[in-house]
Amino acid sequence: MIRWPWKNAKESLSEELEAHLRMAIAKRVADGEDPAQARIAALRELGNVPLMEDITRERWGWMWLEDLLRDTRFALRQLRHAPAFTATALLTLAFGIGANLGVFQLLYAVILAELPVPHPEEVVRIHAARTPFDQSWTISYPAH
């Protein structure tokens, strides 16, 4: 797995909070508290650690990317759980995109592309020709 840059910061924060907890317990024990009681009391004082980590991390400004990645991974997992839907959606997209691509390629080759002639800007006159479809005359106009 790629080591995202914020993983270090996250672990650093966890370590920092752990150090705080250790010191809080040590102080209580030094004041004469029972170690088990001290731990419980110190933990309660520490409060909601995941919430605190979230708030602190939010300030770093990376949350949006992490959220995006998490959401993407979740979405992919969900798709894997619904194969019929996924297949349908993918096929529809493939047909849609493919059809559009094909049409545009054709359009490009026929109309938008340059004439298969060297120096097309020098073409002055083009002969009229009968179209094979409806037997009407078409004359192409000089490309300026």
Partner: protein, 118 residues
């Protein structure tokens, strides 16, 4: 078992003032988060307690603003802890904050005139 003061004696701090108090705590020497909370609590005579839920976001916020800088060091008991130190920028901010606070206190004091004794 240590005596815990009554709940109503503990005042929750507003975010703006918390920054100032944390900067002030770091004025004399660099210290870790736990020590900052202790200093504020002891100096205020147990009146002001900073919840860790406010303290660490505050410290990280201050660091982002470059008012403090952090470093991992060993404590007296040879434990690893993140020590925070005031920067020159932070010192300027502290002075400005302190001045603003004094103005505020003066202003409020002026409004709350002492009651005239009959």
């Amino acid at each position: 078992m240590a005596e815990t003061p009554k709940y109503q004696n503990r005042i929750e701090l507003l975010q703006g003032r918390l920054d100032m108090l944390v900067l002030q705590a770091l004025l004399r020497q660099p210290m870790h988060g736990y020590a900052v909370a202790q200093v504020i609590r002891n100096r205020s005579g147990e009146v002001l307690t900073v919840e860790t839920g406010s303290l660490y976001p505050a410290l990280h916020r201050l660091e982002r603003r470059k008012w403090v800088r952090s470093e991992w060091k060993l404590t007296e008991s040879k434990q690893r802890a993140k020590f925070y130190q005031l920067t020159s920028l932070g010192k300027k901010q502290l002075t400005a904050d302190h001045r603003r606070w004094l103005e505020l206190v003066r202003a409020i004091g002026a409004v709350m005139e002492p009651e005239v004794q009959p």
